[in-house]
Amino acid sequence: MSEENVLGNEAAVTTVEAAEGFFRKLLSRDEVQNTVNWGRKWSFFQYPFVTACCGMEYMATAGPRYDYSRFGAELPRFSPRQADLMMVVGTITHKQAPILRNVYEQMADPKWVVSFGVCASSGGFYRNYATVQGIDTIIPVDVFIPGCPPRPEAVLDAIMMLQDKVSKERRPLLPVVR
């Protein structure tokens, strides 16, 4: 379908073809090409649901030495309406569980959850009447980060793992398109 190239380069030459190429790339199933997933994985807006000591390591990861801003994930949004990545940092008790569930449900799709630290992943060393033994009993979790607290390098590794997961995802672009 290519016509005579008036500009002298080998890129898609007609506007129609360029437009088709753009949308094809946008919606393609190929992980490298999919622009939407690319955009999503490099712009996580976190909701740091921090309850306990892991918050210190979370802050350290945000600081200049380990810096998750390199991943485009810098801005924490303290409103679930404006966030797409919820990082559950610290121990969740049964008293806190309905609040966590509520906040998770207020987030709009697409949303991901990272369970930061052993307390959020499995209850940690609090095997007792008060602690939720892993937040995956109440909300779906994408990545678990073990550690008490996890090293910032582990957190960055988890963000990279989540990026791999996001780039492989297939979600509808709009409810009507699919």
């Binding site: 049964h94 309905p98 009447y129 008060a130 892993g134 995956d136 009993t137 909300i139 779906p140």
Partner: protein, 165 residues
Amino acid sequence: MSKVALDRLVEKFSEEIVSTHDRHGDDTAIVKTQKLVEIMTFLRDDPTCAFEMLTDLTGVDLLGVEELRFQVVYHLYSLSKNHRLRIKVELPEEEPVVPSILEVWKAANWMEREAWDLYGIKFDGHPDLRRILLYPEFEGHPLRKDYEREQRQPLIPAREGREHL
């Protein structure tokens, strides 16, 4: 550790004191519950004792070990004189009630609520004795020795395919 405060207490309230000791350097007095508020007020106001601060108030469950099942332990500290005192009160299982020392030290407010929440020890005269650490729907007093260890009371049910461990 100087026994000044303990001696003053014994001198003033000899009938109320069940026993005293100072093992490991900790001055301790076990007292009866009847005149507890008066004893505490004396310990706070007396110039030799001068215990301005209640540092801790906690409960103990001695199920199967002691005849009087519950104890309430008060740790007092004097900022001006730098000495400490421990007061213990022994309570029976059927009626674990002790007068509240809220008027003496305000710090007792939340500490007594915690003892109620976790042990079920009632504080007579406390204006707002309700749970502080656990949620109102929780049943039972978890730090009692007969609370089943693996019992769980979740507020929201587990997701499909998962269970609350």
